[in-house]
């Protein structure tokens, strides 16, 4: 087996895949080291049909809707990851075994899957504003070019509507927007009728730009509105990072190494040794490269960096968007049939920008409810199951779920800490604490009140607010904050890890701030820039 490469990338998620793509296109010799878990249980048995046809015809549907071990029937679960459907459960498979995390106040989701957490990404794409990029520590001029490059690679559909300053800005590589479903269309129409008064309060509503094709492209099909998006990627309409890895695999200058858990790196005179522990044989392997790019996600990167710097610093900061969701009721949809053609992705966004600075903006991503199945909704009702089924079947089309994200910054009460633990696969364990101050809680509560009030104005009556544990937003950043002072455990804005000559970080570890908007598109754009910087640094 070849163990020597010019460039080694750790991780195949959203950032690793984009960095690999940029390097392979430049013609250099690249390897990705990854554990690479894949779905072997369900992928082949899900028919390439729409949700309604499957529900009416497929005798096998219980296998993938409920899971072989009935893991798709949740009970007493509010833990992070419980929203994953059985065919998406492989995303978190083996994480507990190989990269355990312990905390009473922080429950991050980590993935060892091929394509990483990108396999469960909601596909929302947002260009961050200049004040947001400044707060993160990224240069706007460089990021705008990178956004275009990434958009051209992954395919984004969207619209230049009122929300464009918060979503697409002036992005040019955009496909026409997808068809808006009936449930969300009612809210959007209501917004258009009351736009002036809502805008005065800093409320803007618009279409969510999605990494979903609305035109066929190579081996990916335009969205077919089958409403199976949360279960399967059959048409490849929505972008997933593993698609890039599969595409790159046909290139002679690219190699994908599976079953490789990177433990640490060691810098040598002219390159880097990458120490790997194989997850299939438990054996140690040493790869070597000229340049190493870390992108296993911020917690994975923290583990590797702490070990590589001999545990000289065991505690690092972390940030994660506070998140809650608010089931709402829309009277106008009561007793109506949900249309056959729809998608499971959130297609509408509500932004709260009271001071109109495009900074510290709150947001609610709006979704309708169907393909996650009615029984989960029935469980939330305070009535007996039999009567509740009749009522919920009638009301099902009226439910809209608002997923509310808050912006977030670092503080002394939010951190991760590495501890030695001989019982684990790697000999250590990551722990953490995530506590918001009273002032932060109050700010978030006020923001939620204003968002709920706006939802009411739009004909969406909030029913209750459900808080997920910290970590539930699955947006993590800030463990090795961007800084140009060269201090260890920080990252230079060009992506180079301070204290090293040839090690770069392409994930969100350097981000000093997290806007409420989803960060995946920005992570990918940053990874693209880091890859370009690595090439320049040659």
């Amino acid at each position: 087996m070849q163990l020597k490469y010019d460039y080694i990338i750790v991780g195949s998620g959203a950032t690793g895949a984009i960095a690999a793509h940029a390097l392979v296109e430049a013609g250099v010799n690249v390897a990705v080291l990854d554990v690479g878990v894949e779905d072997e249980k369900y992928k082949e048995i899900i028919p390439n049909k729409d949700f309604i046809s499957i529900r009416k015809e497929d005798d096998n549907q219980k296998k993938y809707f409920l899971g072989n071990d009935f893991e798709g029937i949740p009970w007493q679960t509010s833990k992070v990851g419980s929203q994953l459907t059985p065919p998406r459960n492989f995303l978190t498979q083996l994480s507990k075994k190989f990269i355990p995390f312990e905390s009473d106040s922080f429950s991050p989701m980590e993935s060892m899957a091929k394509g990483g957490l990108g396999g469960g990404w909601g596909l929302g794409c947002y260009e961050f504003s200049k004040p947001e990029l400044d707060a993160i520590g990224l240069k706007e001029s460089e990021m705008l070019k990178a956004y275009e490059a990434v958009a051209s690679h992954i395919g984004i559909s969207g619209d230049k509507d009122d929300a464009a300053p918060y979503t697409l800005r002036d992005l040019k590589n955009v496909m026409p927007v997808s068809d808006l479903e009936q449930n969300l269309n009612g809210i959007f129409s209501s917004y258009k009728n009351q736009k002036n008064s809502l805008n005065k309060k800093g409320i803007y509503v618009g279409r969510t730009p999605l990494a979903v094709l609305t035109k066929d492209r190579e081996n990916r099909r335009a969205i077919q509105y089958k409403d199976m998006d949360l279960w399967s990627d059959k048409d490849k309409s929505g972008y997933r990072s593993w698609m890039t890895i599969e595409q790159l695999s046909s290139n002679s200058n690219f190699t994908y190494h599976k079953n490789c858990l990177v433990i640490k790196f060691r810098e040598q005179e002219n390159g880097v040794d990458v120490i790997v522990k194989r997850t299939d044989t438990n054996e140690e392997q040493i790869f070597t490269c000229k340049k190493l790019i870390l992108s296993p996600g911020v917690l994975g990167t923290a583990r590797i960096v702490i070990r590589s710097f001999d545990y000289k610093k065991e505690q690092l900061p972390v940030i994660c968007n506070p998140y809650c969701y608010i089931p709402c009721f829309q009277w106008r949809m009561l007793g109506k049939e949900i249309e056959q053609r729809k998608t499971g992705f959130g297609q509408l966004m509500l932004f709260l920008d009271e001071d109109k600075t495009n900074f510290d903006v709150g947001l609610a991503a709006l979704y309708s409810y169907r393909s996650l199945l009615l029984f989960k909704l029935i469980k939330e009702s305070p009535l007996n199951y039999s009567d509740s089924r009749i009522l919920m079947q009638y009301m099902q089309s009226s439910f809209t779920i608002a997923g509310v994200h808050h912006p977030e910054k670092s503080s002394a009460t939010k951190f991760i800490r590495m501890k030695q633990n001989v019982e684990t696969f790697t000999g250590d364990i990551l722990t953490g604490q995530y506590i918001l101050s009273d002032q932060e809680l109050q700010t978030n509560e006020n923001r939620e009140k204003k968002i709920k009030s706006a939802l009411k104005t739009l004909g969406c009556q909030p029913i209750k607010t459900i808080y997920t544990p910290h970590g539930g937003s699955i947006h993590y950043a800030g463990t090795l904050p961007f800084s140009d002072n060269g201090e260890k455990f920080s990252i230079h804005p060009n992506g180079k890890l301070a204290g090293t000559k040839n090690v770069f970080v392409a994930d969100g570890s350097g981000f000093n701030y997290l806007p409420a908007k989803g960060l995946t598109f920005t992570l990918m754009a940053n990874a693209y820039n880091v890859a370009k910087n690595v090439l320049k640094n040659e």
């Binding site: 007793g335 039999s386 009567d387 079947q393």
Partner: protein
């Protein structure tokens, strides 16, 4: 896990309670499989509730309704919930779960179901309290 015949009886009772129709053998077998895999533990109190629920569809409805308010995560309800999920994930019962266009007059049925649910809950709370008292 009880014997197969007990599990089949449970599946029939629950299915009839949830949808008011007899259910197919395939769903009964899936229920048996689910009970073996999930291995839901019962305390003495939960077993007493469950025994009472199996006596009649009326009792099952009332106790379910009482627990929904007082103790929604009681394991007796978990058995009902598991069967509900199994029924939904079967093409035989799709029409009981998918949305459709309801006529205006269906609102009267909805109102009646709502009232019935409240009455069941009131009776259910009394039964649940009584069983709890006996078990403590």
């Amino acid at each position: 896990m009880e014997s197969k015949s007990t599990a089949i009886y449970e599946a029939e009772q629950i299915g009839h309670y949830l949808l008011s129709i007899p259910i197919h053998d395939s769903e009964k077998n899936t229920y048996i499989d689910a009970m073996q895999k999930l291995n839901i533990p019962f305390s003495n109190y939960e077993q007493a509730l469950w025994n009472s629920m199996l006596k009649s569809k009326f009792k099952m409805a009332c106790i379910d309704a009482g627990l929904a308010l007082k103790d929604p995560n009681n394991n007796a309800r978990r058995k009902l919930f598991t069967m509900l999920a199994i029924l939904e994930a079967s093409p035989n019962y799709t029409q009981y779960f998918l949305s459709r266009n309801f006529s205006f007059f269906y609102l009267f049925k909805i109102g009646a179901v709502g009232i019935r649910a409240v009455l069941r809950a009131m009776i259910g709370i009394l039964i649940v309290n009584n069983i709890k008292r006996k078990c403590s």
